[in-house]
Symmetry: C2
Subunit: 177 residues, 2 copies
């Protein structure tokens, strides 16, 4: 068996990863798999929300009118429109979001955060942000935070050369929230 493995290695050597890349790859895969699980766990235990649901509510809460078109929200949440539709239906059933057709263009549907939904985000946010700090930023130096930003953007560009990296227009990211 080792011999066969060598053959495979030799045949495809040019395409394999270097040892340094392998180390980075293993580390990256671990984060990609474990971070969502860890964050989902905290949110689910403490607030009964999935990561994705929180992202939807949080995205709406940062809009000046707590409103976003479904397709804009889909971009913001990095999810498909179909998935978003299912999730918003559940959030609507729980009373945190409501949907209305756009008065100006009937093809658009506005997802709107309700007052109850706002309270839910306000309740859930501190614990979630604390988890993000604990799992990510407390473990990194300021230089690493910048490195992470640049690396993340480069990888996203490689995956989606055409899509803009910036969050949805209107998001109040500059506010420090």
């Amino acid at each position: 068996v080792p011999e066969e493995l060598d053959e495979v290695c030799a045949a495809e050597a040019a395409r394999w990863l270097t040892p340094a890349e392998q180390e980075a790859w293993i580390a990256l895969v671990g984060v990609v798999v474990k971070l969502p699980t860890a964050l989902d766990g905290q949110l689910l235990r403490d607030s009964g929300l999935s990561n994705f649901e929180y992202f939807v509510l949080s995205g709406l809460s940062h809009q000046p009118d707590r409103t976003l078109r479904m397709s804009e929200l889909a971009v913001f949440t990095n999810g498909s429109l179909s998935r978003l539709s299912h999730v918003v239906k559940r959030l609507e059933a729980r009373g945190w979001v409501r949907r209305e057709p756009c008065p100006e263009n009937g093809r658009f549907i506005h997802a709107i955060l309700t007052d109850t939904g706002w309270e839910k985000v306000v309740e859930a946010a501190p614990g979630h942000v604390a988890a993000v700090r604990r799992f990510v930023f407390d473990a990194l130096t300021p230089e690493q935070v910048e490195q992470l930003r640049d690396i993340g953007r480069s990888i996203q560009l490689a995956i989606e050369p055409n899509r803009p990296l910036a969050p949805v227009p209107g998001a109040r990211e500059d506010r420090g929230c």
Copy 2:
């Protein structure tokens, strides 16, 4: 609404993320969501395998005897034992893996890569590695590769302080495969 937002910001200011951290966070979330989708897409199209299934087959293929206990394999794949059990059942039905109780300790179950399974990995590997190169390493400088490794390890340590970071013993990572 903006006023309320300010109140929330002020009340929880100490726990929010800094602007630099927000940028990094958005970039990281994007990678965490999009990279699995991109890799899953390539594998599914070209080889009919999910990322997780490939990881299982690949993990076994790197063992000297193509064998790993179920619980070891679960650690290696960053997945739950339950999920692994379901997946291995499907892989067994497709003839790529078989399961046998450990002769020395009947509680352990060995997952063993079959010859057909080996061929499957050999067929799927080049395309998958090429995708990893294209989406990740072609976009990064050698310095960034090292940074990514360190950042990834730090985050994993923060998530799981107790679990070892190294791959499963016996994995032939040092071989360049």
